[in-house]
Symmetry: C2
Subunit: 192 residues, 2 copies
DNA sequence: GTCTATAATCTGATAGAC
DNA sequence: GTCTATCAGATTATAGAC
């Protein structure tokens, strides 16, 4: 990590700390310590904490959307693709690096911070909805629920699963919620 | 509010600020300002910020479990009771006053802060599971999903619904997720 | 019990040397 | 570009008056 330039190390350090501690819980000095750079580099490359945080959030958003796309794309029926997405490897107790930002009061209030969070979650929701829509069009899924609504339910279950798991320090809370959701989704699968 | 004693006003002020700004985002001085009391009162009644926060979290936990019980208890089929719980009036954009605490790094790390959060969410999950179990026992719901798993899915959808709504500054994201969930739950209802 | 005064430390940012 | 030095203000807490 020390082989990269100061700017890159600052963005990576901020991205990690935003995931761990959120925006109000992250101080510029903590980022500097993690990145191993001096005060001057931060204020040379960025206007301040907020501008660096925007870059950190964008980085985390890229990681999230890439992982979602990798799981949702590829072969299989709609159910199989959703299952692959729901069961993909996750650092459950760390929570969602993007979803957690919505609880931060300063992120909620400042448009530059909130926009990339909203964009990333909307993108994932849209990708899930597309799989559902295709499944309904192909006759794999019973079309009793609007794809957008069901995509919201699926993404919400994941986001809420992180919440319950972190409350109990127990990944199983997340796994149980996903298991329940997969049970519900199976009822939509058209059996020939 | 000024007609109550300093201790009560401190707990109420802390509870409100924990909901709005979380633990790391709330300073003792902000609580003092909201409660309208001096520094001395805080450190007379509590050992410090953390002990006051424990009292604030307990207060918010009481509010949550009371509201959940009021919606889940009462007449109706299992589906009707779950629907009443899912559609109850909520201050969606403010998020869940208990669920949001799980994203706070200091709450996640400090047992005295985390325990009342875990207890409250477990209580609500158990109350939902009891309704499902009863519904399955009475033959109202198809018993294809373990009540505990499904209760986790339902509570997760709510917690995640807050996340999506706050990301977009739009209550409809929460409502859509709940609508999708109700659609899934309807498939479990036994039709005579 | 409640208040104000004080203090050590941290926060977010600027100045200016190299 | 990157660094260290510095700074005004906030944070968390203690001391002691009333």
């Amino acid at each position: 990590m020390t082989d990269k330039d100061a700017r890159t190390r600052l963005v990576e350090g901020m991205a990690d700390l935003l995931w761990e501690r959120g925006y109000v819980g992250t101080s510029p000095s903590a980022v500097l310590a993690r990145a191993g750079v001096g005060q001057g580099s931060l204020y040379h490359h960025f206007a301040g904490k907020q501008e660096l945080a925007v870059a950190g959030i964008r980085r985390n958003a890229d990681t999230l959307t890439r992982a979602a796309r990798d799981a949702l794309d590829g072969p299989g029926t709609a159910y199989e693709r959703l299952e692959r997405f729901l069961l993909r490897d996750r650092d459950v107790l760390r929570g969602c690096r993007i979803g957690r930002m919505t609880q931060d009061p300063d992120v909620f209030a400042a448009e530059p911070l909130r926009q990339p969070v909203a964009d990333a979650l909307s993108w994932v929701r849209g990708a899930i909805a597309a799989v559902i829509e295709q499944g309904q069009a192909r006759g794999e899924l019973v079309p009793v629920i609007a794809p957008d609504d069901l995509a919201g339910t699926i993404l919400s279950t994941l986001q809420g699963g992180y919440v319950l798991a972190r409350a109990d320090h127990d990944e199983e809370r997340f796994t149980a919620a996903v298991r329940g959701l997969l049970g519900l989704l199976k009822a939509l699968v058209v059996t020939p």
